[in-house]
Symmetry: C2
Subunit: 376 residues, 2 copies
């Protein structure tokens, strides 16, 4: 089914993608929250439409390049979830102006809010803003329900009408430190509480905060309830990967992306197979190895069935070479030079970033090539 | 000097590049060998011309996308140094046919040589071939000066006129296991001897082997002599990086590429700076950390002078966030939100791969944007 494809190549299983998307939409309906899928993983309009069941709903992005791409493709409600640098506002303004999309920014510092407000005023631009609160990961965000939070809200309010405070966001990135559902469920509650208590804190002080946004795939899937939350951000659930598998977030049959590679060498001193998928084709992310040490840089699977080939994994990567130790020489006959394999990635966000398109697999055939955006 | 640039952005210092290029050409002249620069790092025609002092000389590439790009830009002698998969010959043939370039392939297996010969015959295509010998890294290559080597040569000869045996190549990738020059010099001699003895072995059996190709930046720079070698492949010397610095291969002033990033947050719980350069902008390669553990995901430098800022480094990366611990809060005043820094990369080959162009810095000004190719 892959005869005419050059390798390495990024394969997207359309049935798995649709199932993952449907499952998350059902989950969000059960939880009573809006799904604002994070498209930093997929970076694809085709995937974004499937995520929303065919619609162009609210989305999350991580770069202005993604914002530009989705706005040009007709999306209108775009949360840029990386803290915005003042120097990026002119481009953001242009995106809004040219497409009619509305961008939502994230701020977590009162000086930054003031600076962004001044820049927006100088541009005569209007932006919605969420305040990020830190629910324990300490990557970014202010202390929840604190005077520091209020100071940021006041700074945003002072920049009216150029900035409009739309609510609160939090992100429990530290949920990836666990491989069991119980601590993740606890973190989901911490993430929820940080956001909801912060929104309530600001509402009591006169700021309405219509949006209360939380999320990561694990916390959304394992949360007990999401009372007070209005929307969730999750992205990796669309594709899943070995990092999610290793944390019990998905099964192997949920992983929708894989790298098609060719056996280009048999190293008898080893013995090992050499693949034409190395550090660039797979990325050097080994995030699955914490809880799945045998994952290496990716598990090697049958090209057709995507069933793992024994416990073969890419254990060493060079720029364009992937080295796969095999138990014995019999694997050389089983996988002669020129044969194809597929590799399940550690971290789909990083692996996919090396490719400009997906080869879409449906019912055993490549039916389409979907472009993806990249860069900044 | 960077006011109008969005970040993250890849900056290439033209004076450093030219100095690195000149130094390697002088070194190769001293050694009496042809320089066939490996352009898997730079992937840029502008850089390739500087590498050859303005000419279009022989080059090395790691993907057919690079071969296609350089052939279209007028290069004629292109070594594709990753073992070729039979499925890639049709495209290689098309590149030769459409551009007049000559591609040289690498083979290390007699069955693969036979298969490639059959495929070339079916296409009525002509390709030059080098046999790769394994000088100890055990990534790829046959045993030097061995019956196995002869078997590969015979298989290539049997595929005449479609394949033409042009010689031998070896690559001492394990030279990166050392941070002192003495073991690297020893490996350079092992690499040289593996290639030269293999060429002699085949010449005694009637195969002329006009090309004897070795190389990596460290072995070319540290080799005592290269008697019998006709050409060297090296690539990272054009840019250098923290991995080279950590191994004593270059000084900090030789590193010609850096990532321009913006401070987008101040995390008081730390304390740390948050940059808009994370796993995608820097890559997750931490190859410098073996001998320079403080390198993290990259050293943080003054944006203008490229002098290190204390010992600041990016220690945690998320997709679009880089976290830089600072000793105390005084750094927040020194680097307010919105300020620029530059980051020296661990491994230039992987960092550059995320970008589609270089912003070229000369005498304190950005003077050009040079495109780079990517993908496969």
């Amino acid at each position: 089914m892959f005869e005419r494809l050059d390798t390495p190549r990024l394969i997207l299983d359309s049935a798995r993608l649709t199932r993952n998307a449907d499952r998350m939409r059902a989950r969000c309906a059960d939880l009573g929250v809006i799904l604002r899928p994070h498209l930093k993983t997929a970076k694809s309009a085709n995937v974004a439409r499937i995520a929303a069941g065919g619609e162009r709903g609210p989305i999350t992005v991580s770069t202005l390049a993604e914002a530009e791409y989705f706005a040009a493709a007709g999306w209108r409600d775009i949360l840029y979830s990386t803290a915005i640098a003042p120097g990026k506002l002119a481009r953001a303004h242009r995106i809004q102006h040219e497409t009619g999309a509305r961008l939502l920014f994230v701020v977590d510092d009162h000086d930054a809010a003031a600076l962004i407000g001044q820049t927006a005023a100088a541009l005569d631009a209007r932006f919605g803003v969420l305040i990020e609160v830190d629910c324990g990961e300490h990557r970014s965000g202010v202390e929840p329900a604190s005077p520091a939070l209020l100071k940021v809200a006041d700074a945003i309010a002072s920049a009216a009408p150029y900035l409009e405070l739309m609510g609160i966001m939090s992100h429990a990135g530290h949920s990836y430190a666990f491989a069991e559902s119980e601590p993740v469920r606890a973190l989901a509650e911490i993430e929820r509480f940080a956001a909801v208590s912060s929104a309530d804190y600001l509402r009591e002080r006169g700021y309405p905060c219509p949006i209360v946004s939380i999320g990561s795939t694990p916390t959304v899937l394992f949360a007990g309830h999401l009372e007070g939350v209005t929307e969730v951000r999750a992205g990796i659930y669309l594709f899943h990967d070995l990092a999610q598998l290793s944390r019990g977030v998905c099964t192997q049959e949920d992983i929708a992306v894989s790298v098609l590679a060719t056996v280009i060498g048999h190293q008898r001193n080893g013995p090992s197979l050499i693949l034409d998928a190395g550090a660039l084709a797979l990325s050097k992310d080994v995030g699955a190895n914490r809880f799945l040490p045998e994952a290496g840089y990716g598990l090697v699977c049958d090209a057709v069935t995507l069933e793992p080939l024994g416990s073969l994994a890419v254990t060493v990567v060079h720029q364009e070479h992937g080295n796969v130790p095999v138990p014995d020489d019999s694997w050389f006959a089983r996988l002669p030079i020129g044969s194809l394999v597929r590799i399940l990635p550690n971290h789909a966000c990083l692996t996919c970033a090396a490719y400009t398109s997906y080869d879409v697999l449906q019912a055993g055939e490549i039916i389409a090539k979907w472009p993806r955006t990249g860069g900044w």
